[in-house]
């Protein structure tokens, strides 16, 4: 097997809250290959977001290592573009176009023209051609998330890190956004590491799912070939049920 794109091996993450040292994840290992849609799934408290931030370079593992294309991750960088859950991730003082252009100019050092062409291309892709000169505060939540996705994709990063990007959207918009993301993936086959707490979303988005158990986050199981199940013949429903059982087996045991 060739070298994986992202290699997380034996990563333990700890952070301090006033007075307490919390272990968010303990010896978590997984590998993401090129064009994977890799989903980190688990209940709250399993450290999935913390793990994603560590891949983003915002946290340093106290044990283990994270490497991307063989380079060790030590700090945030534009080779791993983040898409956050929060709607305030766009710079409010820049228009949609400028928001997408900005990282291309400062991190990729593209000229204005080049950055604009590229930005427009990806804004078209997420269907926001008409909002190109709007300021973020005039956009709906779904549109803001689309801009953030366009911004991430325009950078053509090694991997796109998405931290529950659709969690704050209403149910209808969320479904549309999920469909659009899959459509975009069909077109460009980018690699994405996706964090969610929704089993249905994980099955819909991912081709591989890593199940994490909480307190501290440990790997419980990995589901592969998730894209082989289909919602029409009921297999997706069965998988969802099975994953649910797996995730909550502990809780049932604790309760007794």
């Amino acid at each position: 097997m060739t070298q994986p794109l992202l290699d997380v091996s034996g990563v333990t993450l700890r952070y301090k809250t006033p007075g307490v040292l919390v272990t968010a994840t303990e010896r978590v290992s997984f590998q993401v290959n090129t064009s994977d849609r890799f989903v980190l799934l688990g209940p709250s408290g399993c450290g999935k977001s913390t793990l994603l931030k560590a891949v983003g370079g915002y946290l340093t593992p106290s044990e283990g290592a994270i490497t991307i294309k063989g380079r060790k991750v030590t700090e945030p960088g534009a080779d791993r573009m983040m898409v956050f859950q929060e709607f305030d991730q766009l710079l409010p003082w820049r228009t949609v176009l400028e928001n997408v252009m900005f990282p291309l100019q400062v991190a990729r050092r593209l000229g204005r023209k080049e950055a604009e062409t590229k930005a427009r291309h990806y804004i078209d892709k997420v269907g926001l051609t008409r909002a190109v000169n709007s300021y973020p505060h005039t956009l709906s939540g779904g549109m803001k998330q689309r801009v953030a996705i366009a911004r991430g994709m325009a950078m053509e990063p090694d991997i796109l890190l998405m931290d529950e990007p659709f969690a704050a959207l209403d149910a209808l918009t969320r479904r549309t956004c999920q469909d659009e993301l899959l459509q975009l993936w069909e077109e460009t086959k980018f690699t994405v590491l996706f964090v969610t707490h929704s089993i249905a979303e994980a099955i819909k988005i991912g081709n591989r799912i890593l199940l994490l158990s909480p307190h501290p986050g440990r790997v419980k199981a990995e589901v592969v070939d998730v894209d082989k199940v289909s919602p029409t013949d009921g297999t997706a429903g069965q998988l969802e049920k099975k994953i649910h059982e797996l995730l909550f087996a502990d809780e049932a045991a604790h309760a007794e």
Partner: protein, 303 residues
Amino acid sequence: MTTITQPARPSTTKDETIGQARIAMRDQGGAGEHLGEVERKLSTLEMLWDNGFVRKLLLLILLGIVWEIYGRSLNNPLLFPTLSETFDSMKDGIVSGVLPLRAWTSLKVLLMGYAAGVVLAAALTIAAINTRLGTDFLETMTAMFSPLPAIALLPLALIWFGLGNGSLVFILIHSVLWAVALNTHSGFRAVSQTLRMVGRNYGLRGLAYVFRILIPAAFPSILTGLKIGWAFAWRTLIAAELVFGVSSGQGGLGWYIFENRNLLDIPAVFAGLLTVIVIGLVVENLIFRTLERRTVQKWGMQN
């Protein structure tokens, strides 16, 4: 797939097959020509009344009329001149060039002190966001000095810097510095974690990070600080000029007021006060408002 068969039960409401939802389309078109008022042009009078500026102007005119009537009935220009006398005096002051000269002298000193105060505030704030000791320093200094009225430092300033612009600039810096530094710093601290992470995701750091992420993100607070600083400085300056007035040959607006009081030219005192108000209003409503509209309001960061 398993089918769920409903146990036979008597339908209570309607004779519809249970388990099959029904969609009934509503006729929207020709249902009724009689629609309520959807849109109506407002009359000119209504539009004028909705304009805040027009309403305030009306209030001002009303107050002016009250002033004029009271002044005339009192008929004592030494105590309370009428509005028209004040305007006459103001016109004379402007035509003779004394009033604009005085105003310009004040503004020149003010701009010097304001600029120096803002630069110092920027330096202090940058130190404060980068080091913990800097934060402590800023917090302690602001807590100590911001309750201290700048004018209270004037006697000391006179000893240190003598009668002149040096003393004025010193107390102006004091009046601007703490307000601007405090607001800028709290603005920086309030920048959301997400935006900070976005900035670092782009590989921005150091001054580039400060100028391209922190300053624009904290701009609403920075602007508030600049506005408060301006208001403090303007009041402080006029008050200081009243205390030691003319120094290097020509005084400012405060001196103009003081001088004319000594000459018992009360309409000119009123004209001086009016000029102070007008300049304050112009800076507040023209300069800061425009800046606000072009930045924070356009960006949706403030309503």
